[in-house]
């Protein structure tokens, strides 16, 4: 049996105090509250530290970037440093064959016990040539890694729903992880996902050894159960019908609701307005910009970002369903009016015919 988390932390030179600090932060992140710290500490003292591999496919590494900015750096430190992050292209020291070997070894030695974190979508078109590592396609690597994994987390919108690579016309056939593996996948969408959310999901998995409660799209309910809109501090302005009409108007300065500026808060499930970003400093709406719905599937295709109804396909960027609808409505009215005119012109012959019939029958 390998080292426990506490043992390997000791080896890395962490003090007992730091370990407990970590346990407290982890307990809170996993939703146990401070009181759970003791429980976590006892788990981490005994439990073998899990092997973790962090795969990078079609992505920009913004998820990794986000992750290292969590509010409780000790947790991230511990996760990256201690949790035998056996393989991660971005951070590991090993390179080339050595790196590939460490991945192979992890899979072999930890069958059914290691955790896979996937960043990025997997291209499936043209035999998967658009993303290859060490001569193997992303899809082949994913299948190998996923086969014996204890749990799989899809980091970010790329891995969860394809994100920008999968935007129309999706030239590389970028595909979300959950569609490729036949195991449950924890989706943590967002471009990038919120650091503290990522941390909490991983910690939940490590501490409790079980997947957090997921919704119908595989997202942890705790963080993706409500819309940005439901907890937005500008919501009272929305209900009062107070809207920003243009970026530089008085209403924008007053901090009114950004709905008319295309805010996607009402259709976006994420924790931004609660957890916020950069140690809870702010989030886009607080900084005066609408939500662009970065954690929702297909958000790149739902443009333009500054219109809250998408443009109608095939009619240019400015035309929404309402422009088309108004045109059709007016055309209908015109048609009806024309019909009425024709009917009136025919009036005499209609009446004459009716009378002729009456005559005949009476």
């Amino acid at each position: 049996m390998g080292d426990s988390i506490w043992q390997s932390m000791q080896k890395k030179g962490y003090s007992r105090r730091e370990f407990l600090e970590f346990c407290t932060a982890a307990a809170v992140a996993a939703g146990l509250g401070k009181a759970g710290a003791a429980q976590v500490a006892s788990v981490f003292e005994k439990k073998e530290k899990p092997a973790v591999v962090w795969m990078h496919f079609q992505e920009c590494t913004c998820c990794s970037e986000s992750f290292i900015r969590a509010s409780h750096p000790i947790v991230v430190d511990a996760l990256l440093d201690v949790m035998s992050l056996n393989y991660t292209e971005t951070l590991m020291a090993a390179a080339g064959f050595q790196a590939e070997k460490s991945l192979d070894d992890t899979i072999k030695n930890n069958k059914g016990k290691y955790i896979v974190l996937v960043e990025g979508a997997v291209p499936t078109k043209d035999g998967g040539v658009y993303c290859m590592v060490g001569g193997k396609t992303a899809e082949a690597i994913l299948q190998t890694v996923a086969a014996d994994a204890a749990a799989i987390i899809a980091w970010g919108s790329c891995a969860s729903n394809g994100c920008v690579q999968a935007a129309k016309p999706n030239p590389t056939g970028a595909t979300p992880i959950a569609k490729l593996v036949d195991k449950p996948v924890i989706n943590v969408p967002g471009c990038p996902p919120i650091a503290d959310v990522m941390m909490a999901v991983v910690t939940h998995l490590l501490v409790l050894g079980q997947t957090p409660e997921l919704d119908d799209q595989g997202r942890p309910r705790e963080f993706y159960g409500r819309r940005v809109h439901d907890t937005c501090y500008r919501r009272p302005n929305y209900d009062a019908g107070l809207f920003v009409e243009s970026w530089d108007d008085e209403n924008a300065r007053k901090g009114y609701c950004l709905y008319k500026m295309g805010c996607r808060g009402p259709v976006t499930y994420n924790a931004c307005s609660v957890v916020r970003w950069n140690e809870g400093t702010s989030y886009p709406i607080q900084s005066g910009h609408g939500c662009i719905g970065c954690s929702e599937a297909g958000f790149w295709d739902n443009g333009p970002f500054y219109q809250h109804l998408p443009s109608f396909p095939g009619f240019g960027v400015e035309s929404t369903a309402d422009t088309i609808g108004t045109a059709v409505g007016v055309a209908t009215l015109a048609g009806v009016a024309a019909h009425a005119v024709v009917t009136n012109i025919r009036k005499r012959s209609v009446i004459a015919e009716v009378h002729a019939e009456d005559e005949k029958e009476s």
Binding site: N237, V267, N302, A321, V328, V350
Partner: protein, 252 residues
């Protein structure tokens, strides 16, 4: 059919000969109630739906805690939606127990007679090559079929509407339709389609109101008033013809 020459002449001076009409109770009370509840609910839904998509600039002089108009607009939309759905459910039920003018079969052109009537109505309404064809007493087959398509849109709006609503409600009914969201590619897409079909209703209402007036005029047997009182009028013709056959049908 009066043979009294005096009466005949009186009518002739009005440009008309006396003919007999028979009163037919076509739209039963539940059907009329359905129609008007639906009309009110749909109007509310369309107006509030449009406003939700395009909030008006009303008053920006007050603070948020002093007004709630957008909230009320949405509330009316959701409340009217429930009324409309249950009302529609009632109409579906009545399609199985109501009279022959209300029965579900009239909405589908299954018989040859109905199909022929569709051609006839197109000739009368659209091409205007026919003055006033033999149009059935209840829904004419073309109108009925278009109502059927409208019912499909009703269903579509109900499903997408509840799917959107499920995100902000704990009620069981909206949650039955949650699956639609991932299927259609996210709430944004669902919202787009839900909003787009608002315009179907606008179109429908324009054409529907116009055509009831038109048929009231062209058929001359109380099309418009029938949806208030329920009665329409059938012409009583000589034995063996269409009118007599209709007369033989039982009405409730």
């Amino acid at each position: 059919m009066s043979t009294n020459p005096v009466v005949r002449d009186v009518f002739k001076t009005n440009g008309s000969a006396p003919v007999e009409y028979r009163r037919v109770y076509v739209w039963e009370l539940p059907v009329r109630a359905y129609h008007w509840i639906n009309a009110i609910a749909l109007t509310l839904l369309c107006v509030t739906g449009y406003l939700i998509g395009h909030p008006l600039r009303i008053s920006y002089s007050q603070e948020a805690y002093q007004q709630y108009w957008f909230g009320w607009t949405r509330f009316i939309h959701f409340a009217a939606a429930y009324v409309y759905v249950f009302n529609f459910g009632m109409r579906i039920y009545w399609g199985f127990v109501g009279n022959k003018y209300a029965v579900w079969k009239t909405f589908l052109p299954l018989t040859r007679k109905q199909q022929e009537e569709i051609v006839d109505v197109i000739k009368t309404d659209v091409l205007q090559v026919k003055m006033h064809g033999e149009i059935s007493t209840g829904h004419n087959s073309l109108a009925a079929f278009i109502y059927f398509l409208t019912f499909l849109v009703f269903c579509f709006q109900t499903i997408t509407g509840f799917a959107l609503y499920s995100g902000m409600s704990d009620a069981w009914l909206p949650h039955l339709f949650r699956w639609v969201v991932p299927l259609m590619g996210g709430e944004f897409a669902v919202r787009f389609w839900h909003h787009l079909f608002l315009w179907f209703f606008v179109m429908f209402v324009i054409v529907h109101i116009y055509l009831s007036f038109y048929h009231d005029y062209i058929e001359g047997r109380g099309t418009v008033s029938s949806i208030i009182g329920g009665w329409k009028f059938d012409r009583v013709k000589g034995a063996g013809n269409q009118g007599a056959k209709e007369q033989g049908d039982k009405t409730v």
